[in-house]
């Protein structure tokens, strides 16, 4: 995809105070580019859920944003621990979130299904001990 912008956002494990900053920035950039508010909301919701997962569940990782003429590509990559059973993790209501995450209003087990619902293409790959990669594409129209 020929890209207007490419951005990378490192996301630290357990950093609840800063969680969401990357997604807020992503939303701001899409707005500057004139992306429609409907598409912007879909990307923002998926981005916020995937960013929170990096904070809550991963050992750390990054978010990557590409915006081109044919759409928005959002990729999340982390360095572990990986997801043992992806089919289980994709189920609504399944969550291994900590008490801390729950006290903030998260850990309902809706994140992954919600990402899948908002993205036009959704791909998740995970290897135990290596990490998880989630790739989401959003059409601009």
């Amino acid at each position: 995809m020929s890209s207007f912008i490419h951005e990378e956002y490192p996301v630290a494990k357990g950093d609840y105070t800063r969680a969401g900053e990357a997604s807020a920035d992503i939303k701001r950039r899409l707005k500057q580019l004139g992306v429609s508010s409907n598409v912007m909301r879909k990307v923002a919701v998926a981005s916020y859920e995937v960013e929170l997962n990096l904070v809550i569940h991963s050992l750390g990782g990054k978010l990557m944003l590409d915006v081109g003429t044919d759409g928005v590509l959002l990729v999340s990559e982390d360095v572990g621990p990986g997801i043992p059973d992806i089919a289980m993790a994709m189920r609504e209501g399944y969550s291994t979130a900590s008490e801390e995450a729950r006290s903030l209003g998260f850990g309902a087990g809706m994140g992954l299904p919600n990402m899948k619902r908002n993205a036009d293409d959704f791909d998740i790959q995970s290897e135990m001990g290596k990490g998880t990669r989630i790739s989401m594409r959003f059409n601009l129209a």
Binding site: T17, A19, G20, S23, A24, K27, S37, R41, A44, V45, S47, Y48, E49, E92, L104, G105, F106, G107, A108, G109, M110, G111, P113, N114, R117
Partner: protein, 123 residues
Amino acid sequence: MTFRDMATVLHAKVLCHEEKLDNPARTACCSDLMSDVLAFVNEKTVLITGLTNPHVMRTADMLDLKCLVFARGKIPTDDILETADEQGLIVMTTKETAFTTCGLLYEAGLRGVPIEWPEGEDA
């Protein structure tokens, strides 16, 4: 009804963006589960909640919500209110519980935000 009518019905104190109170309010939702709000809320609506952490503001930002109502007299910290101010979000706080807040607003004509069921699922 307007946001001002909401504030009146709830005897609420407006903490942010008082100048927007005459805009119309039509729908609302009530939840402390931000994942749930992110999953089902599909329009620029009102959120009634008892949570006052920064993620409530972030959730509101991601969804372009118009107004936050904190129930049971809760007031977020100043830095959280500053974020709301930057986001252009109306914020009010009422002494009523979340249940009574919803009841009073429903009685006054506000309705639940229409929700989308995930494909292939029945109520």
